[in-house]
Symmetry: C2
Subunit: 337 residues, 2 copies
Amino acid sequence: MRSYQGWRKRMERKIVKEIKDRIEKANAISLISHERPDGDAIGSLIAMGLGIERIGKKVKLLSPDDVPEVYRFLKGTEKIEKLNQLWNERADICIFIDTANPSRLGNDINLKSLGKFIINIDHHIDNKRYGDINFVDPTASSTGELIYEILSQWENLITPEIADALYTAIVTDSGRFSYESTSYKTHLIAADLLSKGANKTIINKRIYEIKPFNVLKLIGEMLSRAQLAFGGKVIWSFITLESFEKHGVNLLDSEGFLQFLRMAEGIKLAILFREIERGKIRVSLRSTDKETKVREIATQFGGGGHEMAAGCTIEANLESAKELLFKSIEEKYGWKA
Amino acid sequence: MRSYQGWRKRMERKIVKEIKDRIEKANAISLISHERPDGDAIGSLIAMGLGIERIGKKVKLLSPDDVPEVYRFLKGTEKIEKLNQLWNERADICIFIDTANPSRLGNDINLKSLGKFIINIDHHIDNKRYGDINFVDPTASSTGELIYEILSQWENLITPEIADALYTAIVTDSGRFSYESTSYKTHLIAADLLSKGANKTIINKRIYEIKPFNVLKLIGEMLSRAQLAFGGKVIWSFITLESFEKHGVNLLDSEGFLQFLRMAEGIKLAILFREIERGKIRVSLRSTDKETKVREIATQFGGGGHEMAAGCTIEANLESAKELLFKSIEEKYGWKA
């Protein structure tokens, strides 16, 4: 059994001490995370912000986009200010959080206009190491793990609010402790955050378990309409304009529905067709293995995305959109319908 | 920060040592868990079974019901034999696992016909303490936590297969580390199980992300039939015998469907009615806050369970079962339909 104390010792990395020193010497500190922020971006940002505030420093929390509704229950999110081209305060230190590349701020931003000294804290493998200090650890489940490591340098700094923020960062970016990157360390940190007052029941509920009733009904409708194709390699379903209207659900509220189709056993690809307006179909593609790349299919129809998650819009009715897309799948993968 | 070593020390309870002694002195040992087994029942049963086998004892694993398809990927499940009235082997020790009441074996079973000495290991608050030794700890997230504690008494006993089984028990009964009963200990144990080789990626995928297509369709049907009651405090749905047959899904494979109803925003209680056979309805209740206790309601109808998750079987048709249960809810909580 690996020992908790031993792990605490190994955790005391030189670079973390260096970051602590820099923070203690600075007066004004800015913290920034990336556009379209996720749970790790928001949680890490506010945990670090609340922590630095507690040691008596002036701190600004910046984000190029609004905090998604689902994370607004976290204390500290109300402190986040909008970063845009007009921002002209230069801090002593600017800490970039969970941001692999400064281009992910969504603006042409001059790093040095944000801070005299740049600290880059991240767990993405493709991080560009653009900081004066780069604390980048791709073995961490989340940037939240690294922020925990930094804040643990100060005695008793982690309050229940900070523990909530860090727990949120970790639980979301580790896929509820399920992704490959989840390690024994991830659980040791979660253990410590719970003993410091993180309210895991509320957090899990807010993030994973609260769906408006009408959204849940529409998910049900989508699932009961699901069909297999290509000998079980593909699961697909659709939502008509009438269904959206009947349930009073809009397109944005149906983002993420694809995860329910993805649960199907044995499939390689899940597809959801959503009627945005008459004759205009939003197609979302999610592959379940690295071999089945979907971005190219989406780009064929003028869309884009990642290798395993992409989308496009096809100007056609549901039936034709499906036919066009299935033809493209047949050609690209050589699967038989 | 609570120390790992300190926790290991506190964990060494007298009763656990006593159980270890008893096991070491016995030759033939039977292990039994409850009917309609869930992840905690199956995971705890095979973890204990594989562990006892490793210390060179003859062991029988018994269950009144088949192992649900979803858990069959776990090594050791193939060792589980069917417990029925014809069973007539009497072991030196019979260990009851995750079984609050021997009646949960679903048969009129004479405890003493199963073993000369009965050990009762469980985390249900209403455990009947029917054993010669009762190791019952309602503060544990799962019986898996207690089995971990027992197996940890022997050096290097926990193999990757045992770690998989214990991780499964814990992750399922803690609701992926989200329920109230999840503690810092739960995460410390998970940390240790990962370092001993538990394959959390596979386990999470198999349990939470791989659903046979027909099961997914039935979930869809259940969700699209869902209704709110008691002014939005309750969400409920039902599955008829015809639906089960139409989709080729059995009762066991629909365990866990309630988690989808539970996602509804604002509810305090989710209820699923499942028609087991004509005139016999299985009722599953899951509350979303500590104030709404459901065990008492289930016991009114001869069932049982936890404060926040319980079930019972009502001999009636769907409509009458619903009426009876709703009446009991009205009386107990004072909610208006």
